[in-house]
């Protein structure tokens, strides 16, 4: 435990500002938000992914995480969440590498679509104004979002995810201290 890195400097107010960034991101898909006072989690976790975890995950939310033993120990210590081995049983899924297929995660039911998983996906870069064409709730006309290093065939998989609305997985993209979100209501076209 001696090497354990700290979580939020101020667990109450830093979680609040991180949540507002994530809420804004989810409300305006494709708009990139910066998390103001993100923690410095162990690699390969990026500060934004660390902030999202500490903001949303706790003893009531089973987590699947594939970011190595340091990250696992860190999130367990600071969030106290149960960790599951099968992503299909997780409420939150964090992947630093290749994520499990969107269709293999919990999608909720038509009566209770809120029972779906949230995928926290670390990517290499996010940039507004170019790339994917996004439309749907939260977007006045169209947002453009360039994602560097998305999983292969992500757009095709997303189409299948969005097609089962109101069921479906929501995604939070993280890089550095930045987040952007892809709610299941979103349509994505290759740019």
């Amino acid at each position: 435990m001696s090497g354990l890195l700290p979580g939020f400097a101020d667990p109450v107010l830093d979680a609040q500002s991180a949540f507002r960034a994530v809420l804004e991101a989810m409300s305006r898909p494709g708009r990139i938000q910066r998390i103001p006072r993100a923690p410095s989690p162990p690699r390969p976790l990026c500060p934004a992914a660390g902030a999202v975890l500490l903001t949303l995950v706790d003893s009531g939310t089973p987590l699947f995480i594939d970011a190595g033993p340091d990250a696992l120990e860190w999130v367990r210590f600071h969030a106290g969440c149960p960790v599951v081995a099968d992503p299909a049983g997780a409420e939150f899924v964090l992947t630093a590498g290749r994520p499990p297929g969107l269709l293999s995660l919990r999608a909720g039911s038509d009566e209770e679509p809120q029972g779906s998983a949230t995928l926290i996906l670390q990517v290499q870069g996010l940039e507004e104004g170019a790339g994917w064409r996004l439309t749907g709730p939260g977007i006045e006309r169209e947002h453009r979002l360039r994602v560097t290093g998305p999983p292969e065939d992500f757009v095709a998989e997303w189409r299948a995810n969005a097609a089962r609305f109101p069921r479906g997985v929501d995604v939070i993209l993280c890089t550095g201290e930045q987040v952007a979100a892809l709610p299941r209501s979103l349509r994505i076209e290759e740019g």
């Binding site: 609040q16 949540f19 989810m26 305006r28 995950v57 009566e111 679509p113 006045e140 109101p166």
Partner: protein, 281 residues
């Protein structure tokens, strides 16, 4: 006066996380009612506990909070809720100006001043289920929402038109969100319904007693339920405000004597005050 011994914004962090998770799901499925573990609050159920819990989970010391009830900042319950947050959220600024606010908690109105990006509307909702007068069993209405089966409501509106020549609901008139979910807009007058459509602001709804949250993201389609041959028409008193002269705002009727004398004033006190100041200048 601050409340010693309580967490920032009153709720404990575990409760906030639970509500925050529910809010994100609510935004991802616009108009769908998400159950949440509503807590007993120090204010009674029915007096805004849902809105208070949503605001408490969202608010930070950098925010500027406006609280209105019936459109007014100075009604007793609005004053009481604003005082509550001033006590339990050190650093938070409160305002009566719509334009200055980052979070607006409301009961029964949407401000007249157009909302902008970056603002969050928090609605206090007494009854989140739009179908409850037609089907009181929530186990059954949940099924109807899953099937997007809103025939009951269509029939009800049709019967209204057949009987009265118009749709009977003058407030809390149901809306379709994103073409998928039938949603209760909370008991705002139908006059305010069009303001929900493609609003630049994020709209969050909290029903504490019924333990449901829901949301309308910015720039989302919100259509008041109607028929092609009987289009939705928002209602307002025909008249103008006795204080600022506005003829386009929602008006409260004031009874001035016991001989039928009455006049109208804007229900939105901030908007009316600004107009009066402009006229005076």
């Amino acid at each position: 006066m601050s409340a010693e011994g309580y967490n920032f914004a009153y709720l404990d962090e575990g409760t906030k996380r639970m509500i925050r998770r529910a809010l994100l799901k609510a935004v991802a499925v616009p108009g769908h009612q998400v159950p949440f573990g509503s807590r007993e609050m120090p204010l009674p159920y029915g007096w805004g506990t849902g809105g208070i819990q949503v605001t408490a989970s969202v608010v930070g010391p950098e925010d500027v909070l406006k609280v209105i009830d019936q459109g007014a900042d100075d009604t007793t319950n609005a004053v009481s809720i604003r005082r509550f947050f001033a006590r339990v959220a050190p650093g938070l600024r409160t305002t009566e100006r719509t334009a200055e606010a980052t979070i607006i908690q409301t009961r029964h109105r949407i401000p007249e001043t157009p909302l902008r990006e970056g603002q969050v509307m928090v609605y206090q909702v007494p009854q989140p289920e739009p179908l409850y007068r037609l089907e009181p069993r929530r186990a059954e209405t949940k099924r109807l929402h899953a099937l997007a089966d809103y025939g009951l409501m269509q029939v009800k509106l049709y019967e209204d038109i057949a009987r009265h020549g118009r749709v009977g609901s003058s407030y809390d008139h149901p809306v379709m969100v994103g073409g998928r979910y039938l949603m209760a807009p909370s008991p705002i007058p139908s006059f305010d319904n069009p303001k929900m459509h493609m609003s630049p602001a994020l709209q969050l709804f909290g029903a504490g007693r019924e333990r449901r949250l829901y949301a309308v993201p910015p720039y989302t389609e919100v259509r008041s339920l109607d028929f092609d041959d009987h289009p939705f028409e928002p209602l307002r008193a025909k008249g103008h405000c006795a204080l600022c002269g506005a003829d386009h705002t929602y008006l409260d009727e004031m009874v001035t004597d016991d001989r039928g004398g009455r006049l109208f004033v804007c229900s939105d006190t901030d908007y009316c005050g600004e107009r009066q100041a402009e006229r005076a200048a």
